[in-house]
Amino acid sequence: MWGFTHLPGASPELPHRRHRATLDFLSSRVMDPPKKLWFIKSTLTAYEAQAELIRRLPIVRGIVFHFLALESFGALARSSNESVIDFPKLPLRLLYYLRHALLAGTFAVVGFSGYHLYGASRTGADWLAARLIPTPEILSAAGLDFHPNRSTKAPANVWLVTETDTEELWSNGLRIDTEFTTTGKARHYLVFPKDGSSPIERTGPPVGIVYHASQNDMAPFAEDFSRDILDQTRDLIGWLKRREIYNYMIDRFGRVYRIVSEESVAIHAGESIWADEDYFYLNLNESFIGIAFESQWSTDVDLITAAQVQAATNLTDILRLRYGIEDINCVPHGLVSVNADQKLIGYHADWARGFPFNALGLKNKYETAPPSVDAFGFGYDDDLVDRLGGRLWPGVELAQAQLAERASKETIEPAELRARLRAHYEDLRDQLR
């Protein structure tokens, strides 16, 4: 997940982002500037004129918004000649975007009561979407289990077969697109021995991998949207390259792009904490490689493609082999990201749920006690619990239990122990400056 996602208070209210995508989609079909402007404005104005209650109810507002957009679009279509609206590609895509509205209509006819409408249209909408858009390639990451019996050791034998100016081919089939690669600052970082001895300075290879979700705008994964999908990826690559974000990005067709060269530091992990058997690692940009899936991670949609999982598996194998990266140091961003000032975990939460460890030949780190909690006494707030759909990963509980046990052995309150651990963290953090 990259930094900035929020923008300014606009005076005429903008609808929720998912509905804005509909508006964006429909207006892209209008070929005449003033008409396009008319369409957008009249939809927004009509929406703004709705009672505030309607605009606040999640599903209802979606239905109303789609309905109003459709009305404006219809008015425009009726009053325009053919050249103004680009119809050919419309039906399938239109149906997709309007599925909530269509459902509302259906349910209105059937006569569901309000509460049922809410629940039913939600599942119903997904059901309808699934039928409208064939998505055989999309898998829910949580359900992935490609190589159930794979060992968590990196394979012993993968090599670079051949390379050109723009591509590398690896013996496990992975192609790495190097056309957009940029170099940044060389790696140079401190690692903190767990035995308390003084930190060790390293300039060498990365010690681990942090996995991310790019969280950019994403069109549905279907043939009709090919153009949009490619455009979005291209925009994303340009942005990542300019900002030196992530070392690798994997698009939805499983193509792997090297963005920032492996020897250089990419921006990706921000304030973060991890540890292996011997060392603590703080702020992992410098010491860990960042790999992003082009995906929208959230608690209710965690969709990545089979091609992405395959590519991530191959890439992980290559990196682990090349740098001797241990399994323990391959973790998703959500498990390492912290708010250091407030001593809270899960500042960025990408992949704090549903990461396909198994498919990638990695041990499930959701079961591992995060060192942020275990060793440095970090906590979490309700907001994180909310963002993760009501439950944190089991490792957090484990870490808290371990901490409580240590406190009782030392016969002090857990809070006191936590305070001491946090102070220790501050010490280490100071040494980074």
Binding site: F4, H6, W38
Partner: protein, 336 residues
Amino acid sequence: MDSDVANGEGRIGLDIGTSKIMSVRQSGSQLKATNEVNAFLPLPYSKITENILLQNKVHYYQNNGHFFVYGNNAEKFAGLFNAETRRPMSGGLINPDEPAALTLIKVIIQGLVKKPRSKSDLVCYSVPGAPADAPNDLIYHEKLLEGYLTELGFRSKSVNEGQAIVFSELEKENFTGIGISAGGGMCNACLSYLSVPVISFSTSKAGDFIDKSVGSVTGESATRVKMVKEQSLDLASSPKDKIEEALHIYYDEVISELISTLNTSVSRASSEAHQLDRAMPVVLAGGTAQPNGFRERFERALEASSCPIPISEVRMSPNPTQATARGAFIAAVYDS
């Protein structure tokens, strides 16, 4: 929806700028732009002067023992009569210190919009962003213009100049992106999302600032600096003399002021409610953006700054001097 939205009959876009006023209207299937320099030339009354003006069929306005030649003719005759032109506007707004401003701007506007053909004819005119230090000046400016247009028999509405750039240049992006007009009196910018203006701002360092500053450090007149700037400046190659060197320096100053204002406005206006789900394009327009190399300089400076929003590209308007008026025209047409 009104059926006459289909065409631009009776709709006019008007760019009321510090250095020029431009109208855009529909003519057949084309758009037609007409342009008057926003300046006038006061000439003391004399029979000879009157004869020259009459022979040349020059429109003028007479008051207080003076002829006032205005618009493009003002520049044309300034040399002939060896007199200095004056301007009704400064810094993007009607100049309160110029006594002749009100009348002359009205005369120039009238020459461009002509007479309405029906009561529903609509003029959409551009206004700058409110100056941070004197927001009320904009209200005065806007009300005066609205008053003139009403007097002339038009319905009218105003559009922010940056937003007008978004309307004319970012149609493909469904009016999402940042429009910037770098003009004479000021630079205006607007960040819009699906046509909704989210942030708009203006800076007072623009073309006139460059002319004046370069003039004062090189000892040249602003008029001469302006000539060099408009005719031979190339920001992509290294400066060849003192004037060019100073032009490069003050161009950088204009750009850096624009970018730092953009960055602070964006960070200041941050709220959870408006997630930006894609990178935004920036479009550059206006007379000051015209020299070769301007776009590249701007892009480099923007990349080097810590702009908090993702930018997909920085592109130049294909028609930098007409972009505002065309955008105002689109705003006039869509409004049924």
